[in-house]
């Protein structure tokens, strides 16, 4: 009985301590096309996006080149679910961030570790059943230049095995530091560089999946929403 009381007391004090010493950084994630925000199912120019889901993982936060926080976690961003597009990171003393480093996709260890839970649960539709491995990025929709029926496209980018590993390492810096940052993924480069004649559908690992992943990786930018 005395033990339980102690436990409860300890518990309360831990949480109080955490609350007092923990600072947070928010990261809002946005997709844009020709610098205009893209919303699902709403055509912007010649592009209509119907699905946009991707994994961001292994975040590192920097302030003035100093690492202030890192996490070995996986986040499934799904434009369909606005709550997945705002990430909150807590860490004691984390105040002001001007640079983040992260991965676009799921690392090879997680790809070979069997059934995983949370953001990596295979029920989330980001796992290839017939050729084991995670889909790092799913982009689906329509584009006026696509030669496919109904001008559709489906890019399921993934694959961890050499010679076609798709995981991307990204480093992006804002002009100054802040506690609420905007991570923007601009799709213009990707749309421009797709070969719309014959690769409007990518559903398995390979050279094309790697090429598009590299383009996406260079399309992220970071800015400060509130200092």
């Amino acid at each position: 009985m005395k033990q339980t009381m102690l436990c409860i007391l300890a518990c309360v004090s831990i949480f109080q301590n955490l609350a007092a010493s923990t600072d947070s950084v928010w990261l809002s994630i946005r997709l844009s096309y020709q610098n205009r925000t893209v919303q699902l199912d709403e055509p912007s120019d010649s592009l209509l996006l119907t699905t946009a889901r991707f994994y961001l993982s292994a975040f590192e936060f920097y302030n003035n080149n100093r690492l202030v926080h890192q996490e070995q976690t996986y986040h499934l961003i799904d434009l369909e679910q606005p709550n997945t597009c705002v990430l909150k990171f807590n860490a004691p003393g984390m105040k002001g961030v001007d640079e983040i480093r992260f991965r676009l996709g799921v690392d090879s260890l997680a790809n070979v570790s069997g059934a995983l839970g949370g953001a990596l649960d295979p029920t989330l539709g980001m796992y290839w059943a017939w050729n084991s491995g995670y889909i790092n990025v799913k982009l689906e929709g329509q584009y006026s230049k696509s030669d496919a029926r109904n001008q559709t496209f489906e890019f399921h980018l993934g694959g961890y095995l050499p010679p076609y590993p798709t995981l991307q390492y990204i480093q992006t810096k804002a002009n100054h530091s802040g506690d609420h940052l905007l991570l923007n993924l601009e799709l213009s480069n990707l749309i421009q560089q797709v070969n719309w004649k014959d690769t409007h559908h990518i559903m398995s690992p390979g050279a094309e999946a790697v090429r598009l992943s590299v383009i996406l990786a260079s399309s992220f930018s970071l800015s400060v929403i509130s200092p």
Partner: protein, 337 residues
């Protein structure tokens, strides 16, 4: 004061992972065998987890129209292979491309499926559940159906401490059951353990086996776990390129995972497409039918010659790999409540 804090932090952290509850289920296998490749620390087998996995394995709820279960294609009495059907058929009788392999000693496998498309036992079940020619459902839907049954949430709670069903838990429990499918009780095993002995015929067959077959069908698991081209003529209707479909490397064209030969007496028809019904045909392939191609395995480049008596002896040895304890183990068959 410091003790309770430690305790608390531990409980708190452990909540973040699926952790098994229930009583440990120890797997038994001969001490001479290599260590399993399966990482049990991430999915320790428990009595409750295995029982749940077994129930799921035999439950057609895993398929879209609740018509077929895993056991539809993997029958315990035939070493979990699909007998009589060269190409396993599933929902609406759509013909699959490949023969269902026997299932045993999976804790020692590094790759799954004939071409190694699946890289871990846990995620193997996703393939039949989502393959349109097999069970044709999505794992998310399966989870919803299971959650809505009166009995499954309690079984998941017994195995994983929580009534909430997830894809991870479904897959891990099926894997737990599959891990228990250990075949190590054949006459061959008894001879190795020194409690039985081969006949003269079996002994000669064993010698021939070690000479011609053991490079690929390596003892004691009777597979080296590798991908090899054993020189089968290409079936142009299926044109199945095997491993290279996954590795995207032409050097892997027509290579398939070396299957175990344990319980081979019962796991016919043979080969990835089930082209041979009898061991006699298999031996004829190895002595007369091997096709030379750029990816043919080195160990089959020299012609194997076996006279009729030697073929009989080799077959006699292969039959010593039959494990009746395994085939008729009540713990592996349909769970009667």
């Amino acid at each position: 004061m410091s003790k309770p804090i430690l305790l608390l932090v531990c409980i708190w952290l452990s909540g973040a992972f699926v952790s098994p509850v229930g009583s440990p289920y120890a797997l038994k296998y001969p001490t001479k065998w290599p260590k399993p490749t399966y990482d049990f620390s991430k999915n320790p087998t428990t009595v409750e987890g295995v029982a749940l996995g077994r129930k799921l394995f035999y439950d057609p709820i895993l398929s879209r129209d609740s018509s077929i279960s895993c056991s539809h294609c993997h029958l315990s009495y035939t070493a979990f292979a699909h007998v009589d059907h060269a190409l396993s058929h599933g929902i609406a009788d759509r013909v699959g491309k490949r023969n269902a392999p026997a299932m045993m000693n999976l804790a020692w496998s590094r790759h799954f499926m004939w071409d190694g498309a699946v890289n871990h036992l846990d995620v193997q079940a996703l393939a039949p559940i989502t393959h349109p020619a097999e069970m044709d459902d999505q794992i998310g839907n399966v989870v919803k159906k299971l959650q809505a049954t009166p009995h499954y949430p309690a079984l998941f709670e017994a195995a994983f401490g929580d009534r909430k069903i997830t894809g991870e838990k479904v897959l891990k429990s099926i894997a737990q059951f599959e891990l228990t499918l250990i075949s190590a009780g054949s006459k061959y095993d008894r001879v190795q353990a020194g409690v039985d002995s081969f006949t003269a015929q079996e002994k000669n067959g064993y010698r021939l086996f070690q000479l011609h077959c053991n490079q690929c069908h390596t003892e004691p698991l009777f597979t080296n776990g590798a991908f090899e081209n054993n020189g089968l003529p290409i079936d142009t209707a299926l044109n199945d390129k095997g491993r290279s479909v996954i590795s995207q490397d032409a050097a892997d064209d027509f290579k398939f995972k070396v299957p175990t030969l344990r319980n081979i007496e019962f796991s016919y028809p043979y080969m990835h497409d089930g082209r041979f019904k009898k061991l006699k045909e298999v031996l004829r392939h190895y002595t007369e039918g091997v096709q030379v191609s750029p990816t043919l395995s080195g160990s089959l480049r020299n012609k194997i010659t076996l006279n009729d008596r030697e073929k009989v002896d080799l077959t006699a040895f292969l039959l010593t790999l039959t494990d009746k304890e395994f085939l008729f183990n009540p713990a592996f068959s349909f769970p009667k409540e």
